[in-house]
C-alpha cells in the first residue's frame, strides 16, 4: 500500500459546501427579477446594456490577470455580479451601451484589480463606477426615459419631487417609472432580497438599517418617507450594493452603524443637496469609513476579562 501518500495537515479536515462562486451565483440569481423587469419595461436596450456590461467586466478582469501574470479569477463570478449591478445603475438609453463598457473598465480595473482584486477593494466597484460615470457623463447619465420604447425623456420621480410633482406609490413599487434599469422596481428588488436572506447570503442588518434610517431622516426633514423608500436607487443600493461583503463591516453592530450612516447621508443629499439622488454617494462615503467602524466594533470575546491598562 502506498503509505507515503498519507496526507498530514492540521485540522479541520472537513470543509463546508459554501464557496465564493456559489455565493456570487446566489447574488446573480437574486438579480434576475430586476433584470427581467428592466427588460420588460425598457425592452432590448436594457438587455443590450446588461450584456455589454457583463461581457466587458469579464473581459477587463481577464485582461488584467493576463497582463499581470496572475491566476485567472473569472471563476469566482464576482465580475458577473459587478457587471449586472453596474448595468442596473445605468439609464435605459442607447448611450448606456458604450458607457457600460467604460464603467466596467473603471469598476474592474481601477476600483477592484488595482487595489489587489476581490476582497481587497475599498469601494464597491459598481458604485464607484456609477459615481465616476455620473460626474464624467452627466448628460448621458441623466437622460431618463419613461418605460416603453417611445423614446421620450422625462425626469425621474425624485427629480420631479424636487420640483413639487408626485408619482403614485403603486407605479413606484412596480417600477413603471423613469429611472435607471434596475432601480425602478422595488418589487423586483424585494424578491431578490428575500432570496438572499433565505439563502443566508446576506443578513438583514444593512438593508434594514439603511432603509429605516433613510425613512426616519426624510421624515424628520419633513418629507414623505414612503416615497423616498420606493424611489431612486435606495432599494437597489441597500440590498445589493451596501451589502457587498468586501466593502461593509463584518460584525452585526458594524453593519447597523454602516446602514444607519448610509441612510442619513442619502436623506441629507436628497433633501438638502442639489442632486436628486444620494444613494451612491452615501454608500461610497460609508465604504471609506468601514475600517474605522471595524476598529470600534470588535466584539468582546467569549470570557474576555477586562485588560488592566
Amino acid at each position: 500500500m502506498a503509505e507515503n501518500r498519507l496526507i498530514v495537515n492540521s485540522s479541520p479536515h472537513l470543509k463546508g459546501m459554501r464557496s465564493t462562486s456559489g455565493i456570487m451565483l446566489d447574488v446573480i440569481i437574486a438579480l434576475i427579477p430586476a433584470v427581467i423587469l428592466s427588460v420588460y419595461f425598457f425592452s432590448y436596450i436594457a438587455a443590450l446594456v446588461i450584456l455589454v456590461s457583463v461581457a466587458s467586466s469579464l473581459f477587463f478582469e481577464f485582461l488584467y490577470n493576463l497582463a499581470s501574470h496572475k491566476k485567472q479569477t473569472l471563476g469566482n463570478l464576482s465580475a458577473v455580479v459587478t457587471g449586472v449591478i453596474l448595468a442596473l445603475n445605468l439609464p435605459p438609453a442607447k448611450s448606456s451601451i458604450w458607457i457600460a463598457a467604460v464603467g466596467s473598465f473603471v469598476a474592474i480595473i481601477i476600483v477592484k484589480m488595482l487595489f489587489g482584486g476581490l476582497g481587497k477593494n475599498i469601494f464597491n466597484p459598481a458604485m464607484a463606477a456609477r459615481v465616476f460615470l455620473t460626474v464624467s457623463f452627466a448628460g448621458q447619465m441623466t437622460s431618463w426615459y419613461a418605460p416603453g420604447v417611445d423614446g421620450i425623456t422625462s425626469a425621474t420621480p425624485l427629480a420631479m419631487a424636487q420640483n413639487g410633482m408626485t408619482t403614485g406609490y403603486m407605479d413606484l413599487f412596480l417600477g413603471n417609472i423613469p429611472g435607471s434599469l434596475g432601480e425602478t422596481s422595488a418589487l423586483a428588488i424585494l424578491i431578490g432580497f428575500i432570496w438572499l436572506i433565505s439563502r443566508r447570503v446576506i443578513t438583514w442588518h444593512i438593508p434594514t438599517a439603511f432603509i429605516a434610517s433613510t425613512a426616519l431622516f426624510t421624515f424628520i426633514f419633513g418629507q414623505d418617507p414612503l416615497f423616498h423608500i420606493l424611489s431612486g436607487g435606495l432599494m437597489l443600493g441597500a440590498v445589493f450594493m451596501a451589502t457587498d461583503y468586501v466593502t461593509s463591516p463584518t460584525t452585526w453592530k458594524g453593519k447597523m452603524i454602516f446602514g444607519f450612516g448610509c441612510g442619513l447621508i442619502t436623506a441629507a443629499i436628497r433633501v438638502f443637496g442639489s442632486l436628486p439622488e444620494g444613494v451612491s454617494f452615501s454608500i461610497l462615503f460609508m465604504n471609506a469609513v468601514v475600517p474605522l467602524i471595524d476598529r470600534y466594533t470588535v466584539p468582546k470575546s467569549f470570557g474576555e476579562v477586562k485588560k488592566n491598562a
Binding site: S10, K15, G16, I23, S248, S301
Partner: protein
C-alpha cells in the same frame, strides 16, 4: 451556544454494537497519553508484564501513570515520533495471548476524598473526550474553589464519532454509578449530562435510570458544532462563562467526559486501570465501519485489518474526528487512551481546497463560538503582527475549526490562528 455551525453528522456507526478486538501480536504503549509531564518507563527490554502492570509513571503532579494493556514480554523500549513532532518514550510489548491479569489488581479501598483521588491517579484515567487531561488533577480543585456542578459531556459533536454514544447505551449503569461516586467523594450536589439532541436514546436511557435521584438529569442540547467544547458546554448547561485563561473550576464546575465517568465506576468495581478503549472506526475507505474496543497501544494497522482493511488506498488517517483530529503519518502509530476514533479518508476527502482571497463575508465572525474575529486574526498571523494578535485575543481560540469549515474562500483560518497563538506565546516567553 454562541456561533457554531451545523455540520453533517455522519454517525454511520451509531447502531454498531461494540466489537472486542482480539489481542494483537504486538502493542506499543507510549509514555504520553495526557497533557502534562511524560512518564518514565518502569520496565526494560525482556521484562515480563501482565494486564494492568504499571509500566510508566512520573513524579510530577500533572501526569498520569501508564499501564500494560496485555500480558507478554517487553521487546523494546524506544522513542516514537508523534505527529506533533515530539519524540516520546515508548514500550513495545510482544503479547503472549493469555491476557494474564497482574495479581496486584484489586478493587481500590476508598473511604475518603484523598483515597479516591489517589485511586483515580493510580487508574491512569485521563480525559477521554480527547484532550487527555489527568483526571485526578481535574477532580482535585484548590480548596478555595467551591464546585457546585458536575457536568457530564456526552455531546459528541464531532462528525462520525459514536463511541460515547455506545458507552451511554451499552454501559448506562456505569455512567450513573460513576456520577454517584464522584458526587459522593467530592461533595457535588448537581449533575447535568449534556447530550446533543441527535441522540434521543441516550437522553431517554440516562434519565430513566437516573430517575431515583432527581439531581442527575440528561439535557438535550442543539446539535451544533462545537457544542461539546468544554466552555460551550458549560455555557449551554449553566449559563456560566469561563473567563479567558481560566478553567471550569473558576466558575464552580467540573466537566467530565461520559466515557471517563463510566470508567470511574468500572475501576472502583474491578481495580483494572485504563488499558482498553472503545473507538469508532469509520471513513470512506474502511470496509466495515464499526465501534471496536481495543487494547491501548494497538497499532492502527492491526485495527484497520480487524475492520476488514481498506476498500481503496487511504490518503488520510485521523486520530479523532474530522474537525479536530490529528492526521497520522503512518499506520504504525498506536492507539492512545484518550483516542476515540480512527478515521480513514479517500483522496477526495483528504485534499483541502485551495485558499482564495477573503471576501470579508463575516461568516467566520458569526460562527466563532469564542466571539473572535478569525478573518482579522488570519491577516495578523500571516503578517506576524504579534501586537494585534494579542489585542484580538488570539489565545482564546479553542481551535475548534468552525471558522475554517464555514469559510467560502476556503481560507485556512484556524491553521493560521494556531501559528498566531505560537507567535504570541513565544513573544510572551521572551519578555
Amino acid at each position: 451556544m454562541i456561533g457554531g455551525v451545523i455540520t453533517p453528522h455522519y454517525k454511520n456507526t451509531a447502531k454498531s454494537e461494540t466489537k472486542i478486538m482480539p489481542v494483537p501480536d504486538k502493542v506499543e504503549i507510549p509514555m504520553v497519553h495526557h497533557i502534562g509531564a511524560p512518564c518514565l518507563p518502569l520496565v526494560k527490554k525482556g521484562d515480563e508484564v501482565m494486564v494492568g502492570t504499571k509500566i510508566g509513571d512520573s513524579e510530577k503532579f500533572v501526569s498520569a501513570p501508564v499501564h500494560s494493556s496485555v500480558s507478554g514480554t517487553v521487546s523494546d523500549v524506544r522513542k516514537i515520533l508523534f505527529p506533533n513532532g515530539s519524540y516520546v518514550d515508548s514500550v513495545v510489548i510482544k503479547t503472549d495471548g493469555r491476557q494474564t491479569v497482574d495479581p496486584g489488581i484489586k478493587p481500590p479501598e476508598v473511604n475518603t476524598r484523598e483515597d479516591f483521588l489517589k485511586a483515580i491517579r493510580e487508574s491512569g484515567l485521563v480525559g477521554l473526550g480527547g484532550a487527555g487531561f489527568p483526571a485526578h488533577v481535574k477532580l482535585n480543585p484548590p480548596k478555595d474553589k467551591k464546585i457546585d456542578y458536575l457536568l457530564i459531556n456526552a455531546a459528541e459533536c464531532e462528525p462520525y464519532i459514536t463511541s460515547d454514544y455506545r458507552e451511554t447505551i451499552e454501559n448506562s449503569w456505569n455512567v450513573i454509578s460513576g456520577i454517584n461516586i464522584v458526587m459522593e467523594f467530592l461533595g457535588i450536589e448537581n449533575v447535568i449530562i449534556g447530550v446533543e439532541d441527535n441522540k434521543p436514546t441516550t437522553i431517554k436511557i440516562l434519565n430513566d435510570i437516573a430517575d431515583t435521584d432527581k439531581k442527575i438529569t440528561a439535557v438535550p442540547l442543539k446539535s451544533k458544532y462545537p457544542q461539546g467544547a468544554e466552555k460551550m458546554l458549560i455555557y449551554a448547561l449553566t449559563g456560566r462563562i469561563v473567563p479567558a485563561g481560566g478553567l471550569p473550576m473558576d466558575v464552580g464546575v467540573i466537566v467530565m467526559n461520559v466515557a471517563s465517568i463510566s470508567f470511574v465506576a468500572k475501576y472502583m468495581k474491578t481495580g483494572m486501570p485504563l488499558v482498553s478503549k472503545r473507538l469508532t472506526v469509520d471513513g470512506a475507505v474502511i470496509r466495515e465501519p464499526s465501534n471496536v474496543e481495543v487494547c491501548v497501544g494497538t497499532y492502527i494497522r492491526d485495527l484497520m485489518d480487524f475492520c476488514g482493511g481498506f476498500t481503496e488506498d487511504p490518503y488520510k488517517i485521523l486520530m479523532g474526528g474530522p474537525m479536530m483530529g490529528v492526521a497520522q503519518y503512518t499506520l504504525d502509530m498506536p492507539v492512545l487512551k484518550q483516542n476515540n476514533a480512527i478515521l480513514a479518508f479517500n483522496k477526495k476527502q483528504s485534499t483541502l481546497p485551495e485558499q482564495t482571497a477573503c471576501i470579508r463575508c463575516g461568516r467566520c465572525v458569526r460562527a466563532c463560538p469564542m466571539k473572535l474575529m478569525p478573518q482579522q486574526l488570519d491577516i495578523f498571523a500571516n503578517s506576524n503582527n504579534t501586537v494585534q494578535l494579542e489585542k484580538f485575543n488570539v489565545s482564546s481560540c479553542i481551535e475548534c475549526g468552525t471558522c475554517s469549515y464555514v469559510c467560502p474562500a476556503k481560507r485556512h483560518l484556524v491553521q493560521a490562528i494556531r501559528k498566531g497563538k505560537t507567535l504570541v506565546s513565544m513573544s510572551r516567553q521572551k519578555k
